[in-house]
Symmetry: C2
Subunit: 351 residues, 2 copies
């Protein structure tokens, strides 16, 4: 009896310790999956640097979007207009491959449909709601005909988990680059970044960004460039702000050759209309951490998701301002976590 | 004869010197009136800190607008939608006094109508096109019933000149304040700021901003707060970013009690649609120099004007990126040039 009791106590102690460690691990997760109910999965294609990233919310999340770049590739964004019917989405599909990459969305739909997750048309016929956006990376690697397909989306959904988001050259950010004010020859590598903030009252606001901007990545806390257009010798940062204001650069973005994609998630209770405003405010994070941003050559798009786990009504401006903050943090991380590929060094390579 | 020749030479020398000085003065003008064809006039009301500012373009300018705050007070912004008929405006009217202040627009219309400047309906009947926006300052001073009227707009138009824009507590910025994340008791004074950039190829992009934000004014070059919410003792800057992310502030903006107004002008040749994009990109200047920005409590609005004096086609992203830059510069100047009033110290008072 004594030994059984000891074993029981040991098991209990172990269980409590594990739970405490789990909680601590969860608390330490400062990525998009810090929001309970959000899973993230990447699929990275090996034949060419490209891929896709799926944000799964199997229980559904209220959603909004703001497309503020001038060269977007997107699907199911009309549905997200506040006046339109559907309130909840079950996934967001992000991909490389420009307009072709939107195909990865089909695989995410198939994955959700197999689980009967979606909007119930006619009361019972399942239609998974999966808004999507793609960034262009067709010039990275040697074969632009390799791009994310439905299979990519399906695999990314299969890989989705609540673990901290893997950052850098993965998923939709695999072929992402920044600093193209002087052409792709002086650009640098970026990728996926993610950040979250946990407030004392339980509010969580998190972001995931695939950074493929024409502009430079700036740390707004210091005003310093983290990654961006390089000097002619390729060895240092030239600073797009200096190039533009001196007149050295007259066309800061090549048309249709860039796009930064973001997803913001929160456990707040917000309506679709409020989330549209949150998505708008989140773009201030692009403005702060990317220069120039929202150009004619960027298809910048941000989706905002709310799981509604918090029962108290949320202040839209508070969530929006925090969203802008974590978006900026995620962009800086996307530059810092990326690794260089031939022709495109990363921030860590220039030190 | 000799003496006449000497006098002639002296006059000629004087004329050349004056012209050179004029050119230098004009070159040194780094405010909105750096753009040829743009005049700016303020009228400041003495009974209460409020007033109005008129941007006159008597030869007409193509225009666009982006209303990105959630609590705007505006007029003739529907007309500026790219699909709508009218292409040219003849003035922009900015005012304090919240929705009441839009009355100042009537005075600007009267001023232009007396000069027969406007859109010619039926081929000959003059309709001056004057988009307008107001900021709220009704809590500044003791009598909120004192607000800009048509008379204010008329006087501001009369006062308009090509001289460098007077900055600080003038015109529409007379009652402007910032840093209201912890209520008006810890806010600071801001006002009107203006900035311009002259490019080697002759492109000029300039901005005028009346800064009455809920947020703090940040210098994006350093990430430092210039003016904003103060510590409880009122003696130092608290930093709205720290207050928000620590959870000390849960409602970063009181609803309907703020608004920052901007006008961007350029000598570039741009269409109404292109100027709509320039106005959108110019809002990145708000995002960079104000934290938080674009809240539910801000009616943030930017008008973009192009005189079209440059004959070569302009790159929209270039003009938009420069516009964002001069808007941010103008915001920082609005904080630095303001002077304190009872209860609202200015940046210069905290040193």
């Amino acid at each position: 009896m004594q030994s059984v009791s000891l074993i029981r106590r040991a098991i209990l102690t172990f269980a409590l310790l594990s739970a405490a460690l789990d909680t601590r691990a969860q608390q330490a997760n400062l990525t998009l999956t810090a929001v309970p109910g959000i899973k993230v999965g990447h699929h990275t294609i090996t034949e060419r640097p490209t891929g896709c990233t799926v944000i799964l919310v199997e229980a559904g999340a209220t959603a909004g979007v703001d497309v503020r770049g001038a060269a977007p590739a997107s699907a199911e964004t009309d549905l997200l207009k506040p006046v339109n019917l559907v309130q909840q989405v079950y996934a967001i599909s992000l991909s490389g491959g420009s307009a072709f990459g939107l195909d990865s969305r089909s695989g995410v739909m198939r994955y959700l449909d197999e689980k009967n997750i979606g909007f119930k048309a006619y009361g019972s016929i399942n239609v998974p709601i999966v808004p999507a956006a793609s960034l262009i990376d067709l010039n990275i690697g040697t074969n632009p005909r390799i791009r994310p397909t439905a299979d990519c989306g399906y695999r990314a959904a299969q890989a989705a988990s609540t673990a901290p988001v893997v950052e850098g050259n993965v998923g939709a950010g695999t072929g992402a680059t920044v600093g193209k004010s002087a052409g792709s020859g002086r650009a640098m590598k970026a990728g996926i970044g993610s950040a979250a903030i946990r407030m004392p009252d339980g509010l969580i606001v998190a972001a995931l960004v695939a950074v493929n901007a024409a502009g430079d990545v700036i740390d707004p806390a210091t005003g310093k460039v983290i990654a961006g257009v390089r000097t002619a010798d390729g060895k240092a940062l030239a600073d797009a702000r200096a190039l533009l204001t001196s007149g050295a650069v007259k066309q800061p973005a090549r048309l249709g050759e860039n796009t930064t994609l973001g997803v913001v998630a929160t456990n707040a209770m917000l309506t679709k209309t409020q989330l549209t405003k949150v998505a708008e405010m989140a773009h201030d994070g692009f403005a702060r951490a990317i220069f120039p941003s929202h150009t004619m050559g960027d298809g910048d798009t941000i989706f905002a998701l709310a799981t509604g786990a918090q029962s108290a009504p949320a202040d839209v401006s508070r969530v929006g301002a925090l969203a802008a903050q974590v978006v900026a943090d995620a962009i800086v991380r996307a530059a810092r976590q990326a690794t260089g590929i031939p022709g495109y060094p990363a921030a860590r390579d220039l030190k």
